[in-house]
């Protein structure tokens, strides 16, 4: 016994438990990292899968019997007491009770998209055939049964024939829808843009006191031209709208309420309960593609996130263009030209520390200095005609990328400097001994050798910029940008416009959206995309760094 005791004490004395505790810390960290990634992946990827629509007979809290139908989203286990407190009558039950969250859709009928049901209240559960899910441009999904397909108010197909009648009609409506969208977005957008330019031109001439009859005529003629084109398009649009509104569907919800859905409002229909796994997979990838390539619908809670992806990418590219030359030049100056001494040491510490300064501070600086000071002055100097509406004196993509360029500058400087410092002195001296000037050595020897380090720095900078949100909230992102910063109107790249951003999209849809429950899966999917992008960028940086190290170890 005492031997055993001694062994125990010895075991404790040896410190083995502490070693295990520290191992535990690593395990906990690893579980947290991978758990987080798995959580995001599972929730983000599951969103696109068309699950079966279940119909239930359900007894409400007050005892009324209803029929509900929807997709089962989540299940939680709730203590019985809590439900009893909430007024449920659950005689003869024990232990925890399963509570399911159903997506019931039909917001136009019920007012909400989601409801929860508790397992004991469910008296029957079926997966009915012929359930149709209609994704709509307004009011979210509709779950129900298709009764009739109508053309201009007249019934053309009922019940079993509807499926065949629906497909060509839906395709036709969608074609029209695309056409309308094209006209509205691109052609009319271009006209509006031209009209605005004319207005500014006139205002500028007026400000310079150069606005005379000749100018007036010219501008009026151009304006008339644009307006004529507009009229033509408008007429065409009216026509298209009329055509598009021709067909409609008569659908019935589970409790028998009839709803008329105009086909123009329909994004897509599908019959989840009749789909095989192959169909579902196809549907899945179609939804993924929609998510990546489409514009958001219904206050960002449905549809895709293409503008956010586009805005993020464009902003990051602009930032990279800005940060690379400055960061590299600063690093070369510090490492190759500046006299190494106390001053460079201080500068190096300062640069290093800037990487640790909170990003929101950069946002504040960007707002004050770039937006209000620089932008305000640019407006006063170059765009007096647009006043008092600001052009550059308001948050926009240029200021965002500039702010993030400053934010990521330390990352690029530090990485490039590290690359420069790893190049053996002998190589430099060899080049100089052969008669090359310092500039030539730099350009032909040092920079090419340091370029992987430079790339690493740039990738890390891009990864940081892509995930940064706080400063962008001050200097240029919006929840819904009316127009992209890059379009078909001259000068194509509009640096003064606001833009959408993946990170901000997560924040905005997750926290500012009126319908958080409906938007949540979309936020997970967006988060997954952002995480993937950033992990891939970081892995690339790590890979390049490791290769670089291996390379110079041999020199």
């Amino acid at each position: 016994m005492s031997v055993n005791n001694n062994a125990k004490i010895g075991w404790f004395r040896s410190g083995t438990p502490w070693v295990w505790m520290s191992a535990g810390a690593v395990s906990i960290s690893l579980v947290m990292v991978f758990g987080l990634l798995i959580l995001i992946a599972a929730r983000g990827l599951g969103y696109f899968w068309p699950s079966d629509v279940i119909a239930m007979d359900y007894i409400e809290r007050d005892g009324t019997e209803i029929r509900v139908m929807g997709e089962q989203r989540e299940t939680a286990f709730v203590p019985l007491e809590r439900l009893l407190e909430a007024g449920f009558k659950l005689e003869g039950h024990q232990g925890d009770v399963a509570r399911h969250l159903l997506k019931i859709g039909n917001r136009d009928l019920y007012g909400i998209d989601f409801r929860s049901v508790i397992e004991p209240g469910i008296t029957s559960r079926t997966i009915p055939d012929r359930v149709i899910v209609i994704e709509r441009h307004e009011w979210g999904n509709f779950y129900g049964f298709l009764d009739e397909v109508k053309e201009a108010g007249k019934v053309v197909a009922v019940r079993d024939a509807t499926h065949a009648a629906l497909t060509p009609r839906l395709e036709r409506t969608q074609r029209l829808h695309d056409e309308i969208k094209h006209i509205e977005k691109i052609e009319i957008g271009a006209i509006n843009y031209q009209l605005e330019r004319l207005r500014l031109k006139q205002r500028k001439l007026e400000l310079n006191n150069e606005f005379d009859a000749q100018h007036e005529q010219a501008i009026a003629a151009e304006r008339a031209e644009e307006e004529k084109r507009y009229q033509v398009l408008q007429k065409k649009l009216m026509d298209l709208y009329e055509q598009m509104n021709r067909d409609s569907l008569s659908v019935v919800s589970i409790e028998g309420r009839q709803v008329e859905v105009n086909l123009a409002k329909v994004v897509r229909v599908f019959y989840p309960n009749e789909m095989g796994n192959g169909d579902k997979l196809q549907h899945y990838f179609m939804k993924v593609w929609e998510f990546l390539s489409d514009e958001p619908r219904e206050a960002n809670t449905e549809g895709g996130i293409f503008p956010a992806i586009f805005g993020t990418v464009l902003m990051v590219i602009l930032m990279a263009i800005l940060v690379t030359p400055f960061g590299v030049v600063a690093a070369i100056y510090l490492r190759e030209y500046a006299k190494q001494g106390l001053v460079t040491r201080v500068i190096r510490i300062a640069v290093n520390n800037l990487a640790g300064v909170p990003s929101v501070v950069y946002g504040v600086f960007g707002l004050g200095f770039f937006v209000y000071f620089l932008g305000g002055n640019i407006d006063a100097l170059f765009f007096p005609e647009a006043g008092p509406a600001p052009t550059f004196g308001t948050p926009g993509i240029l200021w965002s990328s500039l702010t993030l360029a400053i934010l990521t500058l330390p990352v690029v400087i530090v990485a490039t400097e590290e690359g420069l410092s790893r190049i053996p002195l002998a190589i430099r001296e060899g080049s100089l001994a052969l008669g090359a000037t310092k500039a030539e050595t730099l350009w032909r020897i040092v920079i090419p050798m340091a370029s992987p380090a430079l790339m690493t720095g740039l990738i890390l900078a891009v990864a940081r910029a892509a995930g940064e949100v706080a400063p962008l909230m001050l200097v240029g992102v919006v929840k819904l940008a009316p127009s992209m910063p890059l379009d078909g109107n001259f000068p194509f790249l509009h640096l003064d416009r606001k833009f959408m951003h993946l990170g901000f999209h997560i924040y905005d849809v997750g926290f500012q959206s009126p319908n958080v429950e409906a938007a949540r899966p979309l936020v997970y999917a967006t988060a997954l995309l952002l995480v993937l992008v950033i992990i891939i960028l970081n892995l690339a940086a790590i890979y390049i760094r490791n290769r670089l190290r291996a390379k110079y170890q041999s020199i």
Binding site: R13, S14, G15, T16, P17, W18, V19, W20, M21, A23, G24, A25, V26, S27, S29, L30, V31, M32, L36, I40, F77, V78, P79, D96, P325, V329, A330, Y337, I347, I349, N353, G356, V357, P358, S359, V360, V364, F365, L367, G368, F369, L409, T437, K438, A439, E440, W443, A466, G467, A470, L474, G503, I506, G510, F511, V523, A527, V531, I534, I542
Partner: protein, 761 residues
Amino acid sequence: MNSSGDNQTAGLFTSKASANHRRRRMVKDTLTRYAVAFGGISVIIAIILIFFYLLFVVLPLFQSADVEKRASYSAPGTAQDETLYLAMEEQAEIGLRFTTSGKAIFFELANGEVILVESLPIPEGVSITSFAKGQMDQGIIALGLSNGQALVLRHIYRVTYPNDKRQITPQIKYPLGDAPIEIISDEVALTQIAFQSNEEQTTFAVATEDGRLMLSAFIAEESMFDDTPEFEQFTTELELSDSPILKLLMDQEHQNLYVVEQNNTLTYFDISDAESPEKFYQLNISDDGRNVSSVEFLTGTISLIMGYEDGHLAQWFPVRDATDQRVMMRIRGFDHQQASGNPITSIASEFDRKGFLVADSQGRVGIYHSTAERNLAVTELSANPIKHLAIAPRANWMLAEEENGQLQLWHIHNDHPEISWKSLWGKVWYESYPEPDYIWQSSSASNDHEPKLSLVPLSFGTLKAAFYAMLLAAPLAILGAIFTAYFMAPKMRNVVKPSIEIMEALPTVILGFLAGLWLAPLIETHLPGAFSLLLLMPIGILLCAWGWCQLPRSVRHVIPEGWEAMLLIPLVIFVGWGSMAMSPALELMLFDGNMRYWMSEEMGVGFDQRNSIIVGLAMGFAVIPTIFSIAEDAIYGVPRHLSQGSLALGATPWQTMIFVVLLTASPGIFSALMIGMGRAVGETMIVLMATGNTAVMDFSIFEGMRTLSANISVEMPEAEVDSTHYRVLFLAALVLFMFTFFFNTIAEIVRQRLRVKYSTL
């Protein structure tokens, strides 16, 4: 390349082409040198610019006021008439002077030229005996007459833009009709008057020549037939001692009447029911035996500013005491104009800030702000006493009348009087608060709101969030670093280190979103589980370690040393899942099925869904990789011969770790903690999404907080450029900047020293 090579072989340094070529190369070399130096230095300057720009925006906050004399002229209109009241219009183009002879004289402020003289409809043989201001922003005043009547009038200014030029037309209007209203029926002079007027009610308080104090309320009654309301008059006499009255003051809610008597007593009447006013209390307001010489409301009509005969000033306002009674309290005093025989002659309150101007008999004017307890300037306007003082609605001009009838117009440059060291970092006693407190409340709907700009609750929230984050991150990261650097098998380390470092790059918006939408509800429903996890995890690990040691050697050798962390992963997952799964049962057993309810009932602890636990977990998660990575580098860099020597002398690996390795690496670990702290302090998105963002000062782990960074990102887009609020937010950013810069610099210097130390060991 080729040609130059040929040249060189042909005649090294001799041919002209070669010389040219060399010169070009030299020029290029020099140009590059200058270009790089210029570029490098300008980037470094740009970095420094951040700090100076922030400072540049913040500095005006602490500037005192500038005043500048712009004009001086003798009182416009008939100079021999006494001035009753001076006022200015919003654009400060037009001034207004009421005289005792019943004239309203509008004049150009710039030069004193009379624009319009309006004779007030005062009956023949009646004179003006008293005067009162109503709501300042409406320009409404009342005149008490010698026949027991009063006249209410407004001076208003219509702004039109004929030919794109601003034109301001002054006007006098009589909201209650242009005939004086009878306050008391006997024809006795009203020596003092106070009044307030709004659409439903107009209330007068008057002191009469024969020593009575009367309250008279005109309450609108809905008329059946037409829109013009009819008024019903209630008149009541108020009881008071015989001392002559210095001033009557009525607040704009028609609820409180303050009577200041010349014997330094202040009597407070509750007049919220005009038919039966109540006398509440009486108190002495002589501040250390001084005599009151002048009294005025601050904007919002809650605070009273008292001017005393020796130039001392004090702010008083009603405070609810322990028995919920409203008691007038002296809040703070100002003695910047104090001198014997130097009474305060006139006080003018700003229209929409809690600032005021004070004139004294030595001809000096002082500019003050009550909340900030700040004197912004004292300027000597003239050698003569100043009788009347007016301030423009935008508080950027003042008009003073000397005793000899001379008017002086001064421009005031006083943008940020609200800010002082004390109002930012000290306890401030705000109006309507029972005691001094730290409060952040930057904006509100009403105009006469007192801005509460204490950075203390925000800084407190920042440190609280950082503290809870460090509480989770520091032990996990440092223990993890110890194991990874010292005990872990190299193969595993090659995987573990990059994966924890990738964690650092994870956008914090994702962590914040998960914390707010996934973790917060989970913890809320599984609170006992979360706490049991804290207890069970170490116990589980120890049990597992003990169990593993008891296993036969053959089994233990399947997994080599250094892979313990791998072995523990299933355990961690199991314990985590188990704690959450048994949470409802635990809750039922220990807390009657609802821990939150139990806490608030039994312990009196409030519970926020988005609380410090959530922030600690999410931000701890964000900080772990930072600390881990630097600490691991420091431990890994400890020269091997040190630990090998220790092991050779018989120390166990853990003893070597603690007494040799950790001790050597401790500066590195310190700097890791500093940098981690810096990151936790500045983190924005996580706290924005995972807390309720309420600026409470509460240590409770179950309550949220509002941090400096989250506050900036919430309020910055709404702050008006160059306003005080905007600059205070810049100040918050500057505080964050300096804080993190300071800690990071310390950490960096420590780290550099350590590197030198390692190289010499």
